[in-house]
């Protein structure tokens, strides 16, 4: 029955390391990173705005890279808890994402140093003396009140303490998740249940802990750009947004790797379809949270809350908001509804690229209108071009780091019962 060889069980190739073309990806990422960063720096000089837009764009690039790195950690822990064959497939790419944490911390430093300590980014860091700032009309009464009232939370010392603490705790999780994973593969097969329990115990608490620390991070790094506004669902929106971006990236990675061994053997259409379905779920959850937050604030119609949205809708920003809806939900949702699309690699790649682009677009809509010169006034300046070049540079360098990490380990975790299942022909569910 030669013509039906597809029905027989496959075997795992002997060499599980990443194919050589990943080096090519890395060089390409490094070239893109270098070119875009140089243009970004040149624009920084040309913009003549005291590097304000450069720093805002840096924050955007940092938040996206951070989302891939730590969102990858969250998804890694989630797959240990949920189980499933898709989890085995994405495990090593997600581990590679988590190991970029040092680079992400490096990206954070300018935000902390220039943004907070040198008072270039955050209003609350700029005007700690609210009374004088109000008197000199540098801030309005609402801002003065908010900065004064939130001082125990929004001050440079707490900012640094919280940021360092959360980075340190994520570093610990990254270290354990990566170390145990190698130890598990080196261990013998009968001990696999011990390891499963161990990972479950680490991840169960880890997912909750990450949700809380991510909320703190999102409040400090992005939400506090506008000290007057608050939303309790903000952290959760970042959590879902990160999973949305990470899923898109991990599918792109797997499809890219699937042209060569070992991913070629283990990446079946069934699991590709499953990952596509997860994307659809996160697309829905994302719009659900974003629209629910908007609807509640719209219904309340309170002068304390609505200015945040008005800053982001009026003065041309409505176009950005509408396109955010189109990129973030309408396009991925309508495309991912199709069963065929999720099973055809070439088409799924397009959707994943749209999804990652949408994350950056959304972050632009969240960050830029916080600033006085941009709120309710979308206008062109040389500075705004920084949003194209600086984040692309940062994300490209992050990608290069991610590809290097991908090369350091076998691409398949072998000490797992799912390995045998994933090598089975696709229809043998019995």
């Amino acid at each position: 029955m030669e013509q039906h060889s597809g029905y027989h069980e496959k075997t795992l190739p002997a060499d599980l390391s990443a194919p050589a073309f990943v080096n090519g990806w890395r060089s390409r990422a490094l070239i893109i990173g270098a070119v875009f960063s140089i243009i970004g720096v040149i624009l920084g000089f040309l913009a003549n705005d005291g590097w304000a837009h450069f720093l805002r764009a840096w924050l955007l690039g940092f938040m996206i890279s951070f989302g891939f790195c730590c969102g990858g950690m969250a998804l890694l822990m989630t797959q240990y808890l949920s189980g499933g064959k898709w989890g085995l497939l994405v495990r090593r790419p997600l581990e590679a994402m988590t190991r970029t944490l040092p680079l992400v911390f490096l990206y954070f430093l300018p935000v902390g140093i220039f943004g907070v300590s040198l008072k270039k980014l955050y209003l609350w860091a700029q005007y700690p003396d609210t009374e004088n700032a109000l008197k000199n009309h540098l801030i309005n009464a609402t801002q003065a009140h908010s900065i004064h009232f939130k001082k125990p939370l929004l001050n440079p010392v707490t900012f640094w303490e919280v940021s360092i603490f959360i980075f340190a705790s994520w570093a610990l999780y990254t270290f354990l998740l990566n170390r145990w994973s190698l130890q598990r593969d080196a261990d013998s097969q009968p001990n696999v249940f011990y390891w499963q329990k161990r990972f479950e115990n680490l991840s169960g608490f880890g997912v909750v802990f990450y949700s809380i620390t991510l909320t703190a991070a999102a409040i400090y790094w992005v939400m506090s750009l506008d000290p007057t506004w608050y939303s309790t669902v903000y952290g959760l929106q970042f959590l879902v947004g990160q999973a949305y971006g990470v899923l898109a990236l991990v599918i792109l990675t797997l499809i890219g790797l699937s042209s060569a061994q070992p991913i070629k053997t283990i990446f079946r259409v069934t699991e590709q379809h499953d990952l596509g379905k997860l994307c659809l779920a996160f697309t829905m959850l994302n719009i659900y949270l974003a629209f629910a937050a908007f609807l509640i604030i719209w219904s309340g119609n309170s002068p304390e809350e609505i200015p945040w949205y008005l800053d982001r809708i009026r003065g041309g920003w409505g176009v950005i908001a509408t396109l955010d809806f189109v990129f973030h939900w309408l396009l991925p949702f309508t495309l991912l509804l199709s069963r065929d699309l999720k099973r055809i690699k070439r088409k799924l790649v397009v959707v994943c690229c749209i999804m990652i682009f949408a994350r950056c677009w959304d972050m632009f809509w969240l960050i830029e209108p916080n600033f006085k010169d941009a709120a309710r006034n979308l206008h062109f300046s040389i500075g705004i071009l920084e949003y194209i070049f600086v984040p692309t540079g940062l994300i490209a360098f992050w990608m290069a780091n991610y590809f290097s990490q991908l090369k350091t380990r076998p691409l398949v975790a072998t000490n797992d019962p799912h390995v045998a299942e994933i090598l089975e022909p696709e229809h043998a569910h019995a």
């Binding site: 039906h4 029905y7 629209f291 908007f294 229809h427 043998a428």
Partner: protein, 180 residues
Amino acid sequence: MPIQEGTYGLLAEFDTPSELVRAAQSAYDSGYRRMDCYTPYPVEEAAAAIGFHRDNVSLLCLLGGLLGLVAMFSLETWISVWAYPLNIAGRPYYSWPAFVVPAYEWTILFAGLSAAFGMLALNGLPQVYHPLFNSVNFRNGATSDKFFLCLESTDPKFDVAESRVFLEGFKPVSVVEVEY
């Protein structure tokens, strides 16, 4: 409707889905078209093997969903703007954010109902009689642990003797001739 008599088809019984899919694929490759696979749980590859054809349930589901969306959104707009314009907290009559949630729920409701009833309308259920239940092994195994391939007599290529030989080539547990 005249009473149908004679052979409905030949029913081959298999123990594993792999054997079923292999037999179904070969039957399709040798030109059989009027046939069906019966499994205790969905085996997508079996459907693919006998020439998976697209049904219109997903299209009905999509159209139902869109109909629900448009119907509810229009209803809300008509009520708020023309039929009973009320000043609610000074908002415009056409306040679309408030319309989204009911419109979304009708989308889900209509899509779900269209999928369920569309499926029933297109697959011929509920059906009070099916010839295959005349076969004892089918009655006992089709919903628990057996996998069946039935070559139907309406197929132009069907011949009781030849088709039986063909099926027995796949080493099935049994091949049974089923009467109408």
